[in-house]
């Protein structure tokens, strides 16, 4: 393996952050929709509430670290939106991918998200997360805050906050479905997922003839 040239796309903290966030969000969705009453699954209401609250606080702590990391490492720049090649990428997912064409975007450590990803993740960070975060903290402390006259003056009831939280939850669910599917669209279905685990991606062999040759050499040896 050492002879391979691996570009680390996802640093160790980033991978830790991604997978713990993924786990927490799955827990939050499972427990949250249980609390919401969409299903029961034999999960006690209070257990669900417990899991939801603890997972939520854990996620908040994780987010605090992640935001700090993004700003100190400059990684936040990965989310600056661009429309460059956006049409080509959309076209790829709509047609090219079926014909086995190569992805028109080449990842590097400095530009690891394609423009479509950038927009999607920015949407998560600037819209879905704040909706969930603000309404969620509000819900946790509603027993205290709900008594403050200002909320009543603004007509903000527990119901409105809960509805906002639900909107955020559905948006997250939709993001989750599409996100998980798109992880399978690498040059092999597991390529992106392995990249998120190992930090680097095996380039498709035909992309880089030298790599291919090296690979063959290894096989022959």
């Amino acid at each position: 393996m050492s002879h391979k040239k691996h570009v680390i796309l996802f640093k160790r903290f980033e991978r830790f952050w991604h997978w713990s966030q993924a786990g927490l969000i799955i827990l939050l969705m499972l427990s949250g929709f249980r609390i919401h009453g969409l299903y029961d699954l034999g999960m006690d209401f209070h257990t669900a509430l417990r899991i939801h609250t603890v997972a939520a606080w854990s996620l908040v702590v994780l987010w605090v670290f992640a935001i700090f990391w993004h700003f100190t490492t400059g990684e936040w720049k990965q989310y600056i939106p661009t429309f460059d090649k956006l049409f080509l990428i959309a076209r790829h997912y709509a047609f090219g991918i079926f014909r086995g064409e190569d992805h028109p975007y080449h990842q590097t450590a400095a530009r690891k998200h394609n423009p479509l990803q950038r927009l999607a993740y920015l949407g998560v960070k600037l819209m879905i997360n704040p909706i969930i975060w603000i309404s969620g903290i509000w819900l946790i402390f509603f027993a205290d805050w709900g008594a403050w006259p200002i909320w009543q003056q603004w007509g903000i009831s527990l119901q409105v906050v809960a509805w906002a939280h639900t909107v955020g939850a559905y948006m997250m669910l939709i993001f989750f479905i599409v996100h998980v599917y798109l992880t399978t669209t690498g040059h092999t279905p597991m390529a992106h997922i392995m990249a998120m685990i190992r930090g680097y991606e095996d380039e498709p062999a035909h992309h880089h003839p030298r790599a291919k040759a090296a690979h063959k050499a290894t096989e022959n040896a």
Partner: protein, 581 residues
């Protein structure tokens, strides 16, 4: 003042810091939440100085009284009547009669909280025995007084002398004191044939023995009347019946004889015979800390749970989640999951329109269920009984509006007249969600004058319904006694009365669980004005439809996309000489 109280900055900051600390600890230490959610709260010793509850001193067991009433020469008797005993009592307890005569126990009158009208047993309609006027000879079997025992004559309570106060009904310790029916509250001191001519007799009781054995009221004393309301054991309230005389812990965690052994007056504290807590003056949402016994503000109706437990009574791992409920929910709602749990059924429905049937022997028909409880009586109509009944729930601010006898009464769209109505709403800031028993009645109604009719049921005269079963005569007599006009016509109308449930507090492990309300069609399904997580009717339908719709479409979309990808890949693979991916 309450506003200031609620937002006291120091207290708020303190709470915030505590919350922040708890949250941090919970988020960072996985072990902090590994403890099972159902872990029992720390076992509560009977007297725990660290308890959040104000410790109520235990009743001394055995008599520690400084006086032995059996040695008083005034009480040696013999006594020929109740008033003679009272005169003896008053020779020492000089103020007792005056005190009693100022209370609802004597007057049967109370000032209604909001309307300031006079209400009380002699004023309001009900859907059990319907009305007291003309029936007092019978009804006064539950009055702390004596009166003229002549049938058909009723001496207003206000006109009765001090010696007509009945000390024994509350203070008898022998359990042998008993008021005789139709004797205007008097006990039988001679052998009485009852009903007259029936050949059945009530044996006289020895008043001197009872007078020599008096003491603080026990549960059974209060129960003489309060368990038997509505005409029999457990009939009226559902949360008060003879099973509370010696209740197990599972029935009432406070009154359990093998536990805290509370007497009624442990909560309904008295001073000068003023018993705290009244059916007509409820404290539905007490706030502002504990209402500690003996403290200055503990006046009037203080018989609330908060008196001892405060507003944030829960401890342990669930404390925060549970305590946030106390703002909107009465303690009783979760902690009295069912009423009539002691084995004594309570009446849930009473239909007078079915009354009047006679059996083959010509006597009023009697039908009993397998436990011997009547479900039909010719003189009263048909009943539905309930045991282990899940209460109804309503917003309640403590104010009850009663329909006084003679008031205009029009059925609602469901054809029902609500004889009493609870004040309260989700938004008035004074209400909590309370458990209630809804008693359904069907009773005589004047369709022309739109009023519920007073009836004369008790007695042995020609007009007494229980005697002759003639509605026309019974109503005429009842309305005449009530001083009211009626059209001469009667029909039957459905009515409801609502009774707050506050006794029979179950042990905490028997309290309602979260999911009994946080679910569809749960206990609080009919409660409006509050968001209950988990309850479908609180969802915003558009959010659910669009959210689930788009999520479903996304799932379908990616499955189709993935399907096409797989299909195309397989096709490419099978084509010789093609790229393999």
């Amino acid at each position: 003042m309450p506003l200031f109280h609620r937002f006291a900055p120091a207290a708020r900051l303190g709470r915030w810091l505590r919350l922040a600390a708890v949250c941090a600890a919970v988020a960072l230490a996985p072990s902090a939440w590994a403890s099972p959610a159902s872990a029992p709260l720390s076992a509560q010793a009977e007297v725990d100085i660290h308890s959040p509850y104000r410790v109520v001193p235990k009743m001394p067991t055995g008599s520690k009284a400084t006086a032995d009433h059996s040695k008083f020469k005034e009480l040696q008797g013999p006594f020929k009547s109740g008033p003679e005993v009272t005169a003896a009592c008053l020779s020492c307890h000089t103020e007792a009669a005056k005190q009693i005569k100022g209370t609802i126990h004597w007057k049967w009158e109370e000032v209604e909280q909001d309307s300031k009208r006079i209400v009380g047993k002699n004023k309001v309609m009900n859907n059990f025995c319907v009305s007291t006027p003309s029936n007092q000879q019978f009804c006064t079997g539950c009055h702390v007084g004596y009166g003229d025992a002549k049938s058909g004559e009723f001496v207003a309570f206000s006109k009765r002398p001090d010696t007509d106060v009945d000390c024994l009904v509350c203070h008898d310790q022998t359990g042998k004191y008993k008021k005789a029916p139709y004797q205007s509250g008097n006990p039988a001191t001679t052998r009485i044939e009852m009903p007259p001519g029936s050949g059945k007799f009530i044996e006289p009781i020895d008043l001197s023995v009872i007078a020599q054995h008096v003491g603080d009221p026990k549960r059974a004393n209060c129960g003489t009347c309060h368990f038997a309301g509505g005409g029999g054991d457990g009939v009226k309230h559902g949360d008060l019946d003879s099973s509370l005389i010696n209740p197990p812990k599972s029935l009432d965690v406070h009154m359990a004889s093998d536990g805290l052994n509370f007497q009624c007056q442990t909560c309904h504290a008295t001073g000068g015979h003023e018993v705290s807590g009244s059916h007509y003056k409820l404290d539905a949402k007490h706030e502002g800390g504990q209402y500690v016994r003996g403290s200055q503000h503990n006046m009037g109706s203080a018989a609330s749970c908060q008196s001892c437990h405060g507003d944030t009574p829960h401890k342990g791992s669930l404390a925060q989640d549970l305590n946030m409920h106390t703002r909107n929910i009465a303690c009783q709602t979760c902690h009295i999951p069912e009423f009539a749990r002691g084995g004594v059924p309570t009446k849930m429905e009473w239909d007078y329109s079915k009354a009047g049937q006679r059996g083959p022997d010509g006597k009023p028909l009697v039908i009993k269920d397998e436990h011997g409880h009547p479900t039909y009586l010719g003189i009263k109509g048909s009943f539905k009984l309930g045991e282990n009944v899940a209460p109804d729930y309503t917003w309640f601010n403590g104010a009850v509006k009663w329909m006084n006898i003679g008031e205009n009464a029009v059925p609602n769209k469901d054809g029902v007249i609500a004889i009493n109505q609870y004040g309260g709403s989700a938004t008035d800031g004074k209400s909590r969600i309370w458990p209630v028993k809804t008693m359904k009645g069907t009773q005589p109604y004047d369709p022309d004058m739109h009023r519920l009719l007073a009836i004369h049921n008790a007695g042995f005269d020609d007009a007494a319904y229980w005697h002759t079963m003639d509605w026309q005569k019974s109503i005429a007599a009842g309305m005449k006694e009530a001083g009211l006009q009626w059209s001469g016509k009667y029909t039957f109308v459905k009515t409801t009365t609502t009774w707050p449930i506050t006794h029979m507090v179950a042990p905490k492990d028997k309290a309602l669980s979260c999911a009994q309300c946080h679910t569809n069609q749960g206990r609080l399904e009919k409660i409006d004005g509050i968001y209950i997580p988990g309850r479908g009717k609180d969802h915003q339908p558009w959010i659910e439809m669009i959210g689930l719709g788009v999520a479903g479409l996304s799932l379908a979309g990616v499955l189709v996309h993935g399907g096409i990808r797989s299909f195309m890949w397989l096709r490419r693979r099978d084509k010789p000489g093609s790229k393999k991916h």
